[in-house]
């Protein structure tokens, strides 16, 4: 009972409702009795906490009410009828982890299976063939050219050994040529020959064995840079059945081939390549594949051995990626500018070829003895 009276007195004292006479007496009591003083301090602190507590409860309550009211009025919404998108996101978030785990498990299984298949099937490596020219053929042709061109000897070092060959084409009018990395396999330098049988020395400035792409730069005083390239480079996706054509050097003279896009992926679902219904021959490797508007869609690289007329081209996307990647480290690549505009759009095929045939080169790769 005493405690209650004391507490009552303290509370009155603290909230200022104590009568002045009593207050003076109480203050005297506080001064002289440390226990009571302590109780006052403690209670004050408690009341302060209580105040904060009640304020918090009240504001929480107010916020809650406001939330419900705003939802009712549609000022905010929580994925009810109004936003189905929200629910999708929510579901997505909820199952994201599970999906990721499932996908990676699936991925691992797929890898294991494809690994096993590769390991267990003996002949699988020979199903595709690179379209580079075999050395003998190139050599023979070179002799033939030698008869035709006086310059061949002068432009090659005496101890050069031919290692392979294929096609290549300009990606920048300043003399940058793209070809397949496999065309240059085992070589340290190259030269390129255009359809007029003019021969130019070229430097190998970059090879990407994984993408099977390589960049050459014509390094010859006889070469005059073109004003601009007739063809552009296509960034957008293709549709099956689109007509495509290529120019290349399966022989010593530039050769035209046409076909259709037959699949959006290459051999064994390789998503970096297109599959083409086209007769390609050794030597076509590195040649451009263009759509009917004269936009480059890829670089011809391989063909399927077991099927007639199935060729694969590296998607032009990979050229952009390659250049983007090496731009930072390689200053010579920085100068390359790829245009998407094709100026031979709308021309008939033979005119298109006429415009672009001096941009496609026979590439010969050499090594020193």
């Amino acid at each position: 009972m005493e405690d209650i009276l004391l507490l009552q007195a303290i509370e009155r004292y603290l909230d200022g409702t104590m009568l002045p006479a009593k207050k003076a007496y109480f203050e005297e009591l506080r001064k002289n009795t440390p226990e009571i003083d302590q109780m006052v301090v403690e209670h004050n602190m408690f009341l302060h906490q209580m105040d904060i507590y009640s304020d918090q409860r009240n504001i929480k309550h107010a916020l809650h009410e406001m939330h419900s009211r705003l939802i009712e009025r549609g000022d905010i919404n929580e994925g009810g009828e109004l936003s189905t998108k929200g629910r999708v996101i929510q579901l997505y978030n909820k199952y994201k982890k599970v999906t990721a785990i499932a996908a990676s498990v699936g991925g691992v299984i797929a890898l294991v299976i494809s690994g096993l298949t590769l390991y267990l099937s003996p002949a699988s490596n020979n199903q595709i063939q690179e379209l580079k020219r075999e050395v003998e053929v190139v050599k023979r042709n070179q002799q033939y050219q030698g008869a035709k061109l006086k310059e061949v000897d002068s432009k090659l070092p005496k101890d050069a050994v031919l290692t392979g060959g294929g096609s290549g084409f300009l990606i920048d009018a300043k003399g940058y040529i793209i070809t397949n990395a496999h065309v240059l396999k085992g070589s340290s330098f190259a030269n390129v020959i255009n359809n007029n049988h003019d021969e130019f020395k070229a430097k190998i400035i970059y090879r990407d064995e994984v993408r099977d792409l390589a960049i050459l730069k014509i390094d010859d005083e006889d070469f005059t840079a073109l004003k601009s390239l007739p063809y552009g480079f296509r960034k957008s996706d293709l549709d099956l059945g689109e007509e495509v054509f290529t120019l290349g050097y399966p022989r010593n003279d530039i050769t035209y081939n046409k076909g259709d896009l037959s699949a959006k992926t290459g051999f064994n679902g390789d998503s970096t390549r297109w599959q083409l219904e086209m007769n390609a021959n050794p030597g076509n490797s590195g040649g451009p594949v263009l759509d009917k508007n004269g936009e480059v869609i890829g670089v011809l690289s391989t063909r399927e051995k077991q099927a007639e007329g199935v060729a694969f081209a590296i998607k032009s996307k990979n050229i952009f990626k390659l250049i983007d990647e090496v731009k930072d480290s390689d200053t010579s690549v920085q100068k390359i500018k790829i245009v998407s505009h094709s100026s031979i759009k709308g021309m008939d095929r033979s005119n298109q070829i006429k415009q672009m045939e001096n941009c496609v080169f026979l590439v010969q790769a050499f090594n020193k003895k």
Partner: protein
Amino acid sequence: MKAEFTEQALLKGLANNDSKAIEALYKDNFNMVQAFILNNNGSYDDARDIFQEAMIALYEKAKSDSFVLTSKINTYVYSICRRLWLKRLQQIGRYSNQIDSFEETVAVEEDIEIHEKRNAEFAIMDRALNSLGEPCKSLLEGYYVKKMDMQQLSKEFGYTNADNAKNQKYKCLIRLKKLFFAQYNIGE
């Protein structure tokens, strides 16, 4: 300058628990926070919790005498929510570095610390109150939270007179204080 005045007015309103100010703040800021939480692994409930928590932090700040507005309200609210949500993600072990951070933020660490201390104290008081049992709990809530006077309380709870109700209130208060300080001092 006018915008600044309205922001100040809004905060003043919030500090006084004014429903118009709360509504305006809610409308101005909630959708931004909800989008942020939903885009970063959160649910609608998470968005509501985090947003209301931030509003309480803002309320506490607005109520304190030393409060100065150093940024726009929406920047402040976003910063608090972002910080709180990151913490929550860390706690449940789903921390991702990919959290969106295109918005401008201000340093809110200190405010969050204060807010968390307040939250802890709130929880202690809440627990103490809830373990009191009835009618003590409702009696004290009526007096301290709903700010009813003893006359109303005695009527509501059916005491024969206000003095009896008051007596009962003090008995309850003594018990509550004991419970509260037992926890509070451990917490210190």
